[in-house]
Symmetry: C2
Subunit: 341 residues, 2 copies
């Protein structure tokens, strides 16, 4: 491979609704150069996540600036240090780069960089179950959801990167866990492979009735990844004092809000009547707890109490199609692009 | 007064939308009789509260059963003990009755009954600032709102029973407090008499702009009593990590939801982006903290740091019109019906 070229996927224009292939453009850019105190990194794995869709909009006032046009979108990567002029990192080190981006090489001044945990069986896990994805699941569930043994936990997008971890941790903490996913294959995966107590297909004709049955119409924690019609079905089944970590609303990320029928007044009336606590959160606010998360989840992994669910796509040129498919719900587990070394 | 008659206001039919006079009926019922272990009480003050509107509906699955037809609606009262066959209470005692109801006399077995605090300047305060109203304000603000000195607190229905207390306590705890109320007279009352830092009239043409200006577009706590268009205006002005105690949604209690334009998807997207905590609550869940509340608020009252805002209506026959007016926003402070002794 010619190291003089930095392959990049650029955001060519801001998607309208669902992103399309020609919203992106693949280019050969010049190699970036590491200066004093900096590092040249080769990206090995790129994390693809639904939140990226929001940053492709020209959204003002969000928690992070929009991605620039004609530049590679950001995104977490696992990278190898090629050249280091930084005391904290040596050539050959494997690191997690918070915004390594949709490209082969990146220069960093070390901000936010961290070494991979030693003896990680697969470096890609540093983006998934042992990375921001797992941390999001762990933080939202334990800190906002506050699970008690015996609680009924419902997880939407249960086959997805975050949902698959939330539900497994919920089981380890003694909850009865009911997943919601789209289609019979995903539901089988959630119930059989991931070991949820049950999984309900939101595309099923009698979705709301099945959900009521599997949860006994008594949900203590709803981990919200989806919104829309899924939330509409969950809402009347919440118990008094239910906790609702609001992690994502993927049903609306492409603009159209799938199936939402309940208005805010009805929604909030239930919130009062049932004394519900609803809380939005961003993992980046809570990084001081990352080491605690890492220890606990790594322990469970080493004890083989957690299944790692990943989809690996090979080649940076596959990133646009993979991202489009992610928002369509085509994958299970953590979606990662593997770049050539 | 003829003690052989128990004057009652009955719920004659369930209101459709805004309640009307002929949804109620005044009757002379026979006197109730106190049996072994019971008390005969004469109601002196009756609390009228917006939540009663919900209980006039035939609503299933709410936190309390609907009021029965052809019976007096419930409602907190201050009463005098006329006859006691109960060890805890003596003839002449003044007590707070959780569900004394829209009537002159009531028999109780003592459940939920409590004596008035000694030396209360006005017994009606046991229904308002030192009763469930004040407790609701205090609990929601301090436990969910968690005010810090310097926080900007916005209170809707600021001239109302709960709102007037929330804002005053917020000031005592060091917040900058901006009220929202309907009309120039109420706003003057809130800012001048109650001492809020500012009050914005939600009927004003430039309501949203004024609210943004008075709050510097940076609200840390929003105490929600109203919903609808008021919440729509508040929502984009919330700070990161804002707390939203959801106490009531009076704009929708009569069925039509005043002015609500924002959908849940947009609402919850902001919740995530701003990491907002939203929590419904009911005072009755937290009665173990009532003594703490009583001590603190009584202390402030004794030090003349809180203004008691009440509207007293004379005569049980005025209760229907007063209640109708309450939902129309015609009163300031705690609305109480005074019954003849």
């Amino acid at each position: 491979m010619n190291q003089a070229i930095n392959k990049q996927v650029l955001l060519a224009r801001r998607p309208q609704g669902a992103p399309r292939n020609d919203d992106f453009r693949m280019v050969d850019a010049p190699m970036p150069l590491a200066g004093e105190g900096e590092l040249l990194l080769r990206n090995l794995y790129l994390s693809l996540d639904p939140y990226m869709r929001g940053r492709m909009n020209d959204a003002r006032g969000s928690y992070a600036p929009p991605y620039a046009l004609n530049a590679p979108p950001g995104g977490g990567t696992v990278a190898r240090v090629l050249t280091s002029y930084h005391d904290g990192f040596a050539e050959g080190d494997l690191v997690v780069v918070p915004d390594g981006g949709w490209q082969s090489f990146v220069v960093s001044d070390g901000t936010g960089l961290r070494h991979l945990m030693p003896d990680m069986s697969e470096p890609s896990q540093a983006l998934g179950i042992l990375g921001m994805t797992g941390f999001t699941a762990w933080w939202g569930l334990t800190k906002i959801g506050r699970p008690q043994a015996g609680d009924t936990l419902v997880v939407s997008a249960a086959a997805g990167a975050v949902g698959s971890v939330v539900g497994q941790i919920g089981r380890l903490l003694g909850c009865r866990v009911v997943g919601i996913a789209g289609g019979a294959d995903k539901c089988r995966h959630v119930a059989q492979d991931l070991g949820f107590d049950a999984c309900v297909d939101y595309r099923a004709h009698d979705f709301a009735g099945q959900l009521a049955q599997e949860t006994n119409a008594a949900i203590d924690i709803y981990f919200e990844n989806v919104g829309g019609a899924v939330r509409d079905a969950v809402w009347p089944l919440l118990n008094n004092d239910a906790r609702v970590p609001v992690c994502g609303l993927v049903s609306g990320y492409n603009g159209a809000i799938a199936g939402e029928r309940v208005g805010i007044h009805e929604f909030l009336t239930t919130l009062i009547v049932k004394r519900i606590r609803l809380e939005g959160f961003l993992n980046a606010d809570h990084l001081e707890e990352f080491p605690t998360f890492e220890r606990q989840v790594r322990g469970w992994l080493d004890d083989r109490q957690l299944l790692v669910s990943e989809t690996i796509v090979e080649g940076l040129d596959k990133a646009p199609a993979a991202f489009i498919g992610l928002l369509e719900g085509n994958y299970t587990g953590k979606l990662i692009v593997k770049l050539p070394e």
